[in-house]
């Protein structure tokens, strides 16, 4: 099924007799799903773009590349740096805006500007009964009624099928520079936290392959000043690399793209990052750290129980290996949170047909 309007989408969901497997571009789904394919790529098209108001509204099936190209023409961008996980997950296809919102897909700049959900001004979606619902709008500040936008963002389709997305966009800054410093793990992670604790408005803080990466963006003079000030504050030797290319690799975890193993996404307090990895001593693993250490991408063998080694925080199984079918993809929830989540799912999708089996 491939609806081309929200009305058709409503009709299809209302009439569905079994589970529906939602697909935007199929580029970032987690876990395996069951059900008849609901292809959302037909809900495509940018209906509003006002650069002076930093606002863009588009159908959920609109290709991300189309949005990015239009924004680039006006020297604007999506601030939250959408990861392209096709290499990591071994997928092909065209990433769509609806999928980005449903996955709350957010990259390295999250430490500075927040996640995808923080840039979603409004959504339209169709619930599991086929009813079309609007939440939020297209303005920068909006506290009118309950914020269902946040609820839907990151819900991986289980509460509703997103049909339209309104986003806040950002001007591309004039300049960007990254401090690159070769450091041991403990020193490197400490440098990331020190940088984030400085007044220099760091927009990226990652540790990959023995190097700490710290990014600043803004006006040319300001970037030069902050790159200098950060080096003085952090000490030791740093190279300054201009431009933003090396962040694509961090964003997309390209280090793990062709490598064998299960991939986990671990979210912890930044200062716990070291303990997570030292806890894996003696176990073959690779790690990429983003968000100042708050996000750890782990590459391990199938049998490694990553969740048992995360002190406080959450681990999501992003890429499973054969034989891991019994391992839940999403982190387990406390009984109280699970009960609320179940309650919401029962209200929004009483038949349990939307992406059945996702999110526990």
């Amino acid at each position: 099924m491939r609806p081309e309007t929200e009305a058709e989408l409503s009709e299809m969901v209302r009439g569905a007799e079994g589970s529906l497997l939602l697909r935007g571009g199929g580029t970032r789904r987690l876990g395996s799903g069951v059900g008849g394919l609901l292809d959302l790529s037909g809900l495509s098209g940018i209906s509003l773009y006002e650069p002076g108001a930093l606002t863009l509204v588009a159908g959920a099936g609109t290709p991300l590349t189309e949005v990015e190209a239009l924004l680039a023409g006006a020297r604007q961008r999506l601030a939250f740096e959408v990861p392209d996980l096709r290499g990591l997950l071994g997928r092909e296809g065209v990433s769509t805006l609806g999928g980005v919102a449903a996955a709350n897909a957010s990259g390295p700049r999250r430490v500075q500007v927040g996640a995808c959900r923080d840039h979603l001004l409004g959504l339209r979606f169709v619930n599991g009964m086929g009813v079309a619902i609007k939440s939020g709008g297209r303005v920068m500040k909006n506290v009118t009624g309950l914020d269902l936008v946040k609820l839907l963002a990151g819900s991986h389709g289980v509460l509703g099928v997103i049909s339209e997305v309104a986003l806040k966009v950002q001007a591309v800054p004039e300049a960007a520079a990254t401090l690159v410093g070769s450091r041991g793990l403990a020193d490197g992670l400490a440098a990331l936290r020190a940088a984030l604790g400085s007044p220099y408005d760091v927009s990226g803080a990652a540790y990959v392959d023995g190097a700490a990466l710290i990014r600043v963006e803004g006006m040319a003079g300001s970037v030069a000043y902050r790159a200098q000030a950060l080096q003085a504050r952090l000490g030791g030797a740093w190279d300054v690399v201009e431009g933003a290319d090396l962040w694509r690799g961090v964003r997309d975890v390209s280090a793990f793209a062709g490598a064998d193993g299960a991939v986990w996404r671990v979210s912890v307090k930044p200062s716990d990052a070291l303990a997570v990895v030292t806890g894996l001593a003696g176990v073959a693993h690779r790690a990429v750290f983003d968000w100042g250490g708050g996000l750890i991408w782990l590459l391990v063998a199938a049998e490694v129980d990553v969740r048992a080694r995360v002190p406080g925080g959450h681990a999501t199984l992003v890429r499973a290996l054969p034989g891991m079918e019994a391992v839940p993809v999403f982190p387990p929830e406390t009984a109280a949170v699970a009960a609320l989540t179940r309650g919401l799912r029962a209200q929004f999708d009483p038949r349990g047909i939307l992406n059945a089996g996702m999110m526990g």
Binding site: I133, K141, D147, L148, G197, S271, G313, T334, A336, V337
Partner: protein, 477 residues
């Protein structure tokens, strides 16, 4: 404005309810003497008042849980309260409710600079969160003008903003986790000092839920290192539309000031008489503040000045000292006080796409002339969050009603041009009956079902946010 008829069964059981509350709380935490509960009869929407059945002031999450469990068992409604500065009547009691105030829960639980968060009890005031970390050079970014008084609890419930939210975002963008007590008494931990919890974003729907879903007792908040410096610039224009175009050009140019504030002529005149800030007498005035080191500030202001020059400002004044900065902000910060000095006023906070600013300001002017009530505009221009202040005379019969009708017309206009009813103050009782202007029945029903999940008995702050007719069946239980 209607409120539901109080539940006679609960009013009759008043003594028993108070007695029960005294069994779960220390004696000084239950207030039932009407002379003492009077302070809780209203919030900052003072046009509406009502004495509650009783007020409780618990000190811990466990006490909050015990109160809610007891009220649940007795079928008694609860209205949560922070500091009572809501402008929307969010904390207005009903005669058959218990007001649960978190003001005594004001401790700092944990401060963690390495991980950039602070955990506080929710009754702590906004400003004293920054107060707890400023000696180390840090701050909590959302800064409502009421920050000296308002509590984090109210900020979370209203998803409050502030002058600096253009750069730093509003409460929801700076909130990492909460301890939430459900009406049943169950305590739920949601989120925490990490960025991602994996499941459905419950925190996102709790923030801004106006006390509909649960009582927030503790909060984990993002803190940030204080910038090296800040400097405002003031500029005057001879038309609202020109000032609006200047704002759009600055934003388009990719400059990110921390604040862009706008005042129109009626507001400039009134504040000038009141505060003597030395503002130019012009149609529209912008205050723009940027942050950074002195050189970074110079770089940004040079760019802003060049953009402003294209719009022929009639005044341009860059602060050269602390004292000049204070003077530039003085008028803006006294705007509400200045208005209150002239008259009673009602403060709206509809938000519109910034491109619609000139049109909406013109329409408000025309409507003001038709209705015969003056309006002054002062607002956050960078994000289109308007604050039209409608002046009226509370002692003149019919004036409040005329003012409310005018306010509703302005909010309808905001929605018509693609905006919303409220950008930061919340719906409360004030905009409750306008919700159908912005939302369809299906949109509202989806919101109600969320409340059904968190508060199936509809006992928590039940007569707010949604039109009474829409919630009647649910409230009847």
């Amino acid at each position: 404005m209607d409120m539901p008829k109080p539940d006679a069964r609960v009013l009759d059981a008043r003594e028993a309810v108070v007695a029960r509350l005294r069994t779960v709380l220390p004696g000084d935490a239950v207030i039932s003497d009407p002379a003492e509960t009077r302070a809780y009869d209203c919030d900052a929407l003072t046009a509406y008042r009502c004495a509650p059945l009783a007020v409780v002031l618990p000190r811990t999450t466990a006490e909050v849980s015990a109160v809610l469990a007891a009220c649940s068992a007795l079928g008694v409604k609860v209205v949560p309260r922070g500091s009572g500065t809501s402008l929307a009547g969010g904390a207005l009691p009903t005669a058959d409710c218990v007001v649960l105030g978190v003001a005594r829960m004001n401790a700092v639980i944990e401060t963690d600079y390495a991980n950039r968060f602070i955990k506080v009890q929710s009754g702590r005031t906004n400003l004293s969160v920054t107060g707890a970390v400023e000696a180390e050079g840090w701050f909590y970014a959302p800064d409502p003008s009421s920050q000296l008084a308002c509590a984090i609890a109210g900020n979370i419930a209203m998803n409050s903003g502030g002058a600096h939210c253009l750069k730093y975002g509003v409460t929801t963008n700076n909130l990492l986790g909460v301890t939430l007590v459900l009406m049943s008494g169950e305590v739920v931990e949601i989120g925490g000092p990490w960025l991602e919890a994996g499941g459905i974003d419950l925190l996102g729907v709790i923030c801004g839920s106006e006390g509909q879903l649960g009582v927030v007792t503790e909060a984990t908040l993002r803190i940030l290192p204080r910038p090296e410096g800040a400097r405002p610039v003031l500029m005057g224009f001879d038309a609202n539309a020109v000032a609006g175009a200047c704002v759009a050009d600055i934003i388009k140019a990719g400059i990110l000031p921390v604040a862009i504030e706008f005042m129109d002529r009626p507001c400039i005149r009134a504040t000038e008489e009141f505060a003597h800030a030395g503002y130019p007498d012009c149609e529209a005035l912008l205050i723009i503040e940027v942050e950074g080191s002195p050189a970074e500030i110079d770089e940004q202001l040079a760019r802003i000045k060049a953009i402003a020059a294209r719009h022929q400002p009639v005044a341009y004044r860059e602060s050269g000292s602390e004292e000049e900065s204070r003077k530039i902000w003085l008028g803006r910060k006294s705007a509400f006080g200045a208005m209150g000095n002239i008259n009673d006023y009602m403060c709206l906070d509809g938000t519109i796409p910034v491109s619609e600013l000139p049109f909406v300001l013109r329409r408000i002017g025309e409507m003001s002339a038709e209705v015969g009530l003056d309006v002054a505009n002062v607002f956050h221009a960078g994000d289109g969050n308007m604050h039209p202040l409608i002046l009226y005379d509370a002692n003149k019969p019919g004036d409040l009603e005329r003012c409310e009708a005018f306010g509703a017309a302005i909010l309808r206009l905001c929605v018509e041009v693609g905006g919303c009813l409220t950008g930061e103050h919340g719906v409360g009782i004030e905009k409750r009956d306008l919700m159908q202007v912005q939302f369809s029945d299906a949109d509202l029903e989806a919101q109600l079902t969320v409340k059904d999940v968190f508060d199936p008995g509809w006992l928590l702050n039940p007569a707010k946010v949604f039109p009474l007719a829409v919630t009647a069946a649910r409230r009847a239980g």
